[in-house]
Symmetry: C3
Subunit: 151 residues, 3 copies
């Protein structure tokens, strides 16, 4: 059970975000659920803002990316049952950073590493990690997720 | 009818762009149509160029993003009938901007807000909005679209 | 046969990359194969690093983008037979560059132009090409690929 795995990992899903005016946090199409770009919001506050730089704490950015995944998993439950989620197909990991920051792949691991713990072999996913000039609300990271569900 | 909705909204679709040498504006796969990144071209000219900055007009950028969506809808008609388009699954909204511009989500609304007016409930979509350092031809915005069609 | 086309083009696929700890180079979902963002690695070394600038060699960047595609095609063979690949649905082309570099579309052609030579009409694909502030390991380009396979 997905719920059991989350509990073992000490992860409690936040209340799913309310549908926004013009777009929605999660959209189902066939057996795929597309999740909108998630920011590292925790208890209503961004965990990390501003660009990554070569000297800035990678572990903090990884934790922010993990939070994005948790928020995205919560968002998925708006359009499907948590236990119907089989795995993750793709992540799009965006890291705000200065041009000399080139460790986006390490930051993205903050999300990637937790996923097989939750979904087993079906948690292994394709991924693109890129550095961007800035993100909404000055967030340091943003994560897009594509879940696969049982039909 | 989609065509009726467009007419009510005062939107006339431009002539679909010609297929280019190496890639195409729209690619069908199953009941999904993937649209290439659209620039805010209107009558052969970019509506807006150069990066967004904190002081620059958001409404102008929203209008440019709306134009990207209109161009993408026109592109879709190269591979499917306009009336077969059921809705929008995902938008990828790229906003060229300086590092201190952090309102990509507001710019992306320029596309998002028009879509439910055209497609109703099936127009509600997932979305990622990010800031990039620059875009082709110095365009201010670029929009990728994933449409769902009836099979 | 795909293999014959590659041979005619003088392309030999590299050894597929080893699955990494937390994510994988290729993920199958239905009749689609999602390829992780590929860097221009050749014989274990990045072909090109650092940002594109208006004066920098476009042909070199196109060659790097072509290499990303070749690496991605190799990655696909970890989850499907090479001959089962029917075509390419979408490319996501990321080009590291300074804000005044605005020819991402020309760089992306390095991948796009080779694809119909390999897959014929089914090689024509949708595409987004954007400029980013930096990429993992300071690579100049990164390419995400969505292949369509026969079921």
């Amino acid at each position: 059970m997905v719920q059991d795995k989350l509990q073992k990992l000490g992860i409690s899903l936040p209340v799913p975000p309310k549908p926004l005016a013009a777009y929605i946090p999660a959209r189902k199409s066939g057996n795929l659920v597309y999740i909108s770009g998630q920011l590292p919001l925790k208890d209503g506050t961004l965990m990390m803002t501003g660009p990554m730089t070569p000297g800035r704490n990678i572990e903090e950015a990884k934790a922010a990316m993990k939070q994005c995944f948790i928020n995205g998993l919560s968002a998925a439950t708006q359009v499907c049952d948590l236990e119907s989620i089989k795995g993750v197909v793709r992540l799009g990991a965006f890291v705000s950073g200065t041009p000399d920051f080139t460790e986006q792949h390490l930051v993205a691991n903050g999300a990637s590493e937790i996923i097989p713990d939750i979904f087993g072999d079906q948690g292994y996913h394709a991924r693109a990690a890129v550095g961007v000039s800035s993100l909404p609300l000055d967030a340091t990271v943003e994560l897009e997720i594509l879940f696969e569900i049982s039909e």
